[in-house]
């Protein structure tokens, strides 16, 4: 867990999947052009049992996927506004909130854009240069309790949040690339 988050962020940083009290299942990750990846997901009831199970499944699937720092419901074939994130082990991470799941997340503030190259398990053969905000405030609900939380994220965690929120809204990074020559063939696979 990060050294820093205080206030509303501390609740998110303290969250673990143990709160869900259900066993997560490892699900298959779907790839483009699977239609669910291009479909905006509906809002969910964060306290509903199926949302809690989905949250646990997302974390379980993220845990077994090499290099995976975030996973959204459409990536496991479920059209819904739910995703999980854990950038704590990534070398580019500065401060972070550990593992958390957000439902119905929306971006409240975004600033300081930077371009970086992204890859995605659902787009295995390409990487792409994408401009994203490096300072971000996101609001969402925790699964299970349904508590409304706000997260102030920066750098890599901010990029990850935007990537996952995009998934929930039916976008993959291919929809956000910086230009016609900003897509690259992937050369190494995790």
């Amino acid at each position: 867990m990060s050294a820093g988050p205080a206030g509303p962020d501390a609740r998110v940083a303290a969250w673990t999947e143990a709160e869900l009290a259900v066993e997560g299942r490892v699900l298959e990750v779907v790839r483009v052009p699977e239609p669910v990846l291009s479909t905006p997901g509906p809002l969910v009831d964060p306290t509903a049992p199926e949302t809690v199970q989905l949250a646990a499944d997302l974390v379980a699937t993220m845990r077994v996927s090499p290099g995976c720092v975030g996973l959204a419901a459409p990536q496991v074939g479920v059209s819904a506004q739910v995703f999980c994130v854990d950038v704590s082990a990534h070398p580019k991470t500065r401060d972070h909130h550990g593992t958390f799941v957000l439902c119905n997340a929306e971006v409240l503030e975004a600033s300081r854009n930077e371009k970086a190259r992204e890859g995605c398990m659902s787009v295995p053969d390409f990487t792409g240069d994408v401009k994203r905000a490096t300072r971000l405030v996101v609001r969402g609900a925790l699964p299970g309790t349904g508590e409304q939380v706000e997260i102030t994220a920066n750098a890599f965690e901010a990029r990850c949040l935007q990537h996952e929120i995009d998934h929930c809204n039916g976008f993959v990074f291919l929809d956000r690339v910086a230009g016609a020559h900003a897509i690259h063939a992937r050369k190494t696979y995790l």
Binding site: G119, A185, T188
Partner: protein
């Protein structure tokens, strides 16, 4: 039905609206599938390369595209090429940037250093704007390459030409 073949098509010449629509429409009419393509303007000249697969033969493709070149401002070439599979690499990917005052020999001098260590250029763009010359290259380096030594050699070559050069990793963040 005959076995699908792969054809490389180049279209070069005077730019005007509608070239891509016309070329791809004619290829589509032959039942050809565009597998890969790139197009850019090189100092205002239209430059496009396409790889398309299908059962149409080279002469039929040339005939279908002939109207594109009818006014003499575009050159179209068609040639069959073998299937190539891009190998996954165990090396590393890098982005090379070189910029400085224009003079002949910048690309060759700098890229020669990359070739010397077995590096492979997978994408390259150069631009000239006023007196500023810019080179951007994506490079695959073999796992055994000494990147520090290469960077030093590139800087030496660049300094001799009076330009600046940077080499940085092109790793993608997995999200």
């Amino acid at each position: 039905m005959s076995t699908p073949t792969l054809h490389a098509i180049t279209v070069l010449g005077h730019d005007r609206p509608g070239i891509i629509a016309e070329a791809t429409g004619r290829l589509s009419g032959l039942g050809l599938n565009l597998e890969d393509s790139t197009m850019t303007l090189l100092r205002g000249h239209f430059a496009m390369m396409l790889l398309c697969s299908g059962s149409a033969a080279g002469p039929a493709i040339e005939e279908a595209l002939a109207p594109l070149a009818a006014d003499g401002t575009l050159t179209v070439t068609v040639r069959e090429v073998p299937e190539e599979t891009a190998p996954t690499t165990t090396g590393s990917s890098w982005v090379l940037t070189v910029h400085g005052g224009d003079r002949p020999g910048i690309v060759s001098a700098v890229i020669a250093e990359v070739a010397r260590v077995g590096g492979n250029i997978t994408d390259l763009t150069t631009r000239l704007a006023g007196d500023l010359y810019l080179l951007l290259a994506e490079i695959d380096l073999p796992a055994a390459a000494d990147v520090d030594a290469l960077e030093s050699a590139i800087r030496t070559a660049a300094t001799a030409l009076g330009v600046g050069a940077t080499l940085r990793p092109a790793e993608a963040d997995e999200l």
